[in-house]
Symmetry: C2
Subunit: 371 residues, 2 copies
């Protein structure tokens, strides 16, 4: 594979995944036709749809394709249909395997408020207007992956469930480096979050991040915060943060809490990055923050913007097409500012549109901006 290849594996997944991915594909087509981006795309299955067809939430073959791709675009996985499957067959296991086998250790979760949508937040508008936080969540370690794990039956007939929270120096350092680098390109502030007051893994986390700050990133303003306090501070005064770095479990809750602060979950993209290879290229997976929304799946109502903004992150981080990324983000901003809204971000006086109409408006706006 040449370093100029742009091989994209598209995993639309379950629920609304295929619908929103449809708009992404049309937009990819626009970039091919109008901007000469030479993408090579292929489709694959992940989650419940893969289980239904192959009996596993992700096949070895698809896993290998993801590893070979330059970037993976994912829709969403899961739904009530698969809720009672055994643990190893659950749709989420497919997503977790992708992250694990691609070694995507850094999950970038922007919490960003579009001006036109600031009113949509459950927080008072002045607290979120202009909000721009980047949460970097460690994604391949910690308690979601540690061993031993499982449920065992004790001699007295009781059952015991076990999971193991574990982090090593290098796991902490590599994700902290991504966060320090991002901070340098943003407001130069990094807040590291753990529970060092009650967990040894948190003590290690704090010490290793501080050590990096003291040696390689003296120019970045580093602070530390306990995870429960961070949950409070996000609600109290979210704009105090620039970049947050935290572990897998705390990052799961805190990034979702921050996402909801924006009031527009249907707008939020994410990127998951691995280590850089010799050419500086990182394995990468891009996906919207929202889930598979089984309640509205197949109805053409889903908001495709989060998936489209994930495409924008892909253009920026995987293919160095910053200008194209800017163009797509600008188009999304403009379409929303003009009042086009899917149900999830609908507001009085705005125009309610479906998934496909929203995609149409994006393409029209891209045409206008590129004219």
């Amino acid at each position: 594979m040449s370093s100029n290849s742009k091989k994209i594996l598209i995993l639309a997944g379950d629920g609304i995944g295929p619908e929103v991915m449809g708009e992404v594909k049309r937009t990819l087509g626009w970039f091919e036709k109008r901007r000469g981006s030479g993408f090579e795309t292929e489709d694959g299955l992940v989650g419940g749809c893969s289980f239904d067809k192959h009996g596993v939430p992700l096949t070895d073959e698809t896993m290998q394709k993801a590893i070979d791709a330059d970037a993976v675009l994912l829709g969403a996985v899961g739904g009530p249909k698969w809720d009672n499957l055994p643990f190893k067959d659950k749709p989420e296991r497919g997503l977790l395997r992708l992250r694990k086998d691609m070694e995507l250790f850094a999950n970038l979760r922007p919490a960003l408020v579009f001006d036109a949508l600031a009113e949509a937040s459950s927080l008072k508008t002045e607290l979120v207007k202009g909000l721009d936080i980047m949460i970097v969540r460690e994604l391949t370690g910690g308690v979601y992956f540690g061993s031993p794990r499982g449920i065992e039956t004790l001699p007295n007939g009781e059952r015991r469930g076990i999971n193991t929270q574990v982090y090593t120096t290098s796991e902490i350092q590599r994700v902290a480096r991504v966060a320090f680098e991002l901070a340098r390109k943003r407001g130069n502030k990094l807040c590291s979050v753990e529970k060092a007051n009650v967990m040894e893994s948190g003590v290690l986390w704090r010490e290793e991040v501080q050590k990096l700050g003291d040696t390689e990133y003296k120019d970045v303003q580093l602070s530390h915060m306990y995870a429960d306090n961070c949950a409070m501070q996000l609600v109290r005064q979210p704009k105090q943060f620039d970049v947050i770095v935290t572990d897998n479990l705390f990052g799961d809750l805190l990034s979702d809490c921050a996402a909801m602060l924006t009031g527009s979950l249907g707008m939020l993209p994410s990127a998951s990055l691995g280590a850089a290879d010799k050419g500086g290229k990182r394995k990468a997976l891009y996906e919207p923050v929202h889930g598979s929304a089984p309640d509205i799946a197949g109805q053409g109502k889903a908001n495709p913007l989060a998936c489209l903004l994930s495409l924008s992150m892909m253009l920026r981080y995987s293919f160095d097409q910053g200008e194209d990324a800017d163009l797509l983000e600008k188009a999304a901003n403009n379409v929303v500012a003009k009042g086009f809204r899917t149900g999830d971000i609908m507001a009085p006086g705005c125009t309610l549109v479906g998934t496909k109409e929203m995609g149409d408006e994006i393409l029209k706006e891209l045409d206008r901006l590129a004219a």
Copy 2:
């Protein structure tokens, strides 16, 4: 100790603890004098102040006194002075030992909004006005206590930090029972929260809670939610919840998040309960949600209401003095409605008061209400 004894161990702790506890003592005095409550109080040390005097954050002697008491009232522990102590000496270890050795497995965290303070929330007023959630957090199990734990050095020179998340059937059942019982006395709705999609300990949690619901509490409306979604839902629409039951770590973050939603952390009490003895009496510890606030300690500025409302929970849950508890809560409500405010809940047009003046107003209001 007779079953009518009212032996209270008072552990004021660090930072603003002693100040707010001073007002609690005056109020206890009021109940003794005016309502004939025969309390027997004793003071003890916990946290940094205990470490400074005895070299440990809690002595065996004080631990025994706590076990022998009918109720323990605690102020707050911790502060920057003790932040760099070895793990076992940290102030928080004293508090954790109290919870562990008294087997206080159920932490009751009301998130309640006083009408006069609804505007103080960072959330839009209509989303929090009348908010009344009860979060029941498991407090003696899970990843803050599980073994193995610690930091080890690996052969390659790296370090590894480990903690263990572990729950047994009976640990889950006993805290779930407290939550089901509370739900019955409230809105009859219980939401159980875990990460069953990625953690086996969460699978066990969900199964055991559901089993209890199916057998002993069929009348209670039971639902399940993933912890990250719960963090979002608390921010989006907190009034959807009545009682939430969750594990130690998730409860730590979610109860603090819910507390901050109220906008008035200085108002929130908590109770931690153990198993009922033959006489139906539970070991119990009552403490405000706020921390030791070292930045304002010793300045007479701290809000004593959370500690006073903790006293009210003590009257209700440990001494069956529901009427007295109502009286104290009513007094707190009235004083705030009249516009008396410490700095943390100050609002335009209100009267700024210090810790002692707030205590004075509570006593005056109690006099008025009891007249």
